[in-house]
């Protein structure tokens, strides 16, 4: 069953407060926009009394057509009991303004998105990888990273090649030539 809570139509409020182009799907409560407009969207979402989105429950990324990255914000309002999904299209430079000044939960969630996709959140206090090591050179959830074709460390490319032996290597015989004579 789909969740049943308040599903108000935000369209009039958005029309009133937002000046940049956006798409709003009232039946599914999804708002789509470009990421560069986020700094003017967040204060509206958080500050307006009719919206009052004080609960950023989730933040992640997706790469919907290949190569086009979006950042998805799952917002909810505890006092007014409605929710919204904001899908922001990240620019080519992969720099998205951070949501940490508005919601503290964005801290770790943005670190995870950076770790997995490589989207850099400008204005984040401490943007570093959270799941993987700092020296890792790839971003795993990108479609360009084909995990099923990785056989050994060498395939990962980047800094991991320092740890890997070259791919084509004649395997060492189990018994060296000298010992073979003795046998």
């Amino acid at each position: 069953m789909t969740p049943t809570l308040n599903k108000p139509d935000f369209a009039p409020i958005l029309v009133e407060r937002i000046k940049f182009p956006y798409e709003y799907d009232a039946s599914r409560q999804i708002l789509r926009l470009d990421a560069e407009h986020l700094p003017s969207l967040f204060p509206v979402l958080k500050g307006d009394e009719r919206l009052a989105f004080d609960y950023l429950r989730g933040l992640t990324g997706k790469e919907q057509p290949e190569g086009v990255y979006h950042v998805v914000y799952m917002l909810a309002s505890i006092s007014l009991r409605h929710d919204l999904l904001v899908v922001a299209k990240a620019p080519e430079s992969m720099q998205v303004p951070s949501a940490t000044p508005y919601w503290a939960s964005a801290d770790w969630l943005e670190r995870e998105t950076y770790d997995m996709f490589g989207i850099v959140f400008t204005g984040h206090p401490d943007l570093r990888r959270i799941y993987m090591e700092e020296t890792v050179s790839f971003f795993p959830l990108r479609k360009s990273f084909k995990v099923l074709q990785v056989v050994n460390l060498y395939d990962l490319g980047g800094a991991e090649r320092d740890f890997a032996k070259p791919k084509k290597e004649t395997p060492k015989p189990a018994v060296s030539a000298k010992d073979a004579e003795k046998l």
Binding site: T4, L5, N6, K7, R81
Partner: protein, 446 residues
Amino acid sequence: MIVSSTTIWEALRGLLLGWGIPYAWAQAIMLFVAFLTVALFIIITVLLLTLLERRLIGWIQLRPGPNRVGGRTGILQPIADALKLLFKEDIIPLNVDRPSYLCAPYVVFIPVMLMFVVLPFGISIINGAYKYIIISDLNIGLAYIIALGSIQVIGIIMAGWGSGNKYALFGAMRSVAQIISYEVPMVLSLISVALFAGSLSLIDIVQAQSTLWAFIPLFPAFIIMLITAIAETNRCPFDLPEAESEIVAGFHIEYSGMRFALFYLAEYVSIFVMSSLITICFFGGWKGPMFLGESGLWFTSMFWFMAKTFFFVWCFIWFRGTFPRIRVDQLMVFAWKFLLPVAVLQLIYVGWAITYRNPVFSAFRIPSNSALQAYKGELSSYDYMTMGGALKVLTTSEQVAFGISVIVAIGVALFLAAILWRTYLGYKPSHVFTMELAQKGRENDD
């Protein structure tokens, strides 16, 4: 009136002298036999204690303890443990301070063994005279035990420092802070026992409880002694030094094999010694109904002593199975801000009561009026009295003081009864939880 302490070992010496052995040899043999007996006793007791603890804790935790080695009771389990510890590799880390590291287990273990010298286990009748089952009844028995407990602290510092490990040092410092903080109320409560009995000798303390066991007038001291004994032996709920000191095990983390076994044994022996100290000081030692008559006096007295001691050992084990750990700052606050004032007040109260010749607090041994007037204070002029007789002897002010102490005793008894009644009714946490219930069956808002 100090009872002259004649021990069964002296009877043994007398026997040897009767056979014509020279005095020095008889003395040496007597001491050797006594030492051997104590060593055997300690080994057997500790082995049984480890097994007892594991079984009892298991039963509290809804499981049997060790029940495979040696049949269903697991009686050979301690031997298996001892063999395991003996055969372990003796690892000495490289950066230890060798003298401290190597001597520390002994400095911790030997004082506990020495405490057995003054513990009276019972009484017997040999050739018509009372002989005490004790190795040597020192005049300062109580102070001797307290002093030995303090030497253990040095051993712990040696272990912590000598291990060359930052975490061991932390654990040792915490343990030392805990032990010396809890020693002060313990000593004060033991002083009130000494005041009650009139002497520091443990046999005198037991004999002073012929009429009334000391835990009735000295009840706060008993409670303080129980709590501080648990803290002294680093047992739960005061086992912060042993567990969870930054998730490592405290001052004995760098010890393995036999050295660790010595720390382990020292803890169990000190549990036994503390329990027997509580029995001797507050519960009348070996006193109880002597059901076997005079010839079986040695058996019944030892039986009562061991029964009461093992009751308190069981209390130690019971507390370990039940309580969580106290935080280190709460531990210190409890010792210095609660136990110490109560112990001091208790001591002042006992001293005041004895000065006013309160019969109950003086173990029914009151100096006669003549001795008091002569102010000789000679111990031979103490008379054992009954309650009625004592009340006749007291002056008016002393009788008033007795009356006040009766009122205080009734107050304390009512307070305890109130606590027990509340426990019986079922403990509800006293602070208020507002479990605000969201609207029952809230409708969908669509």
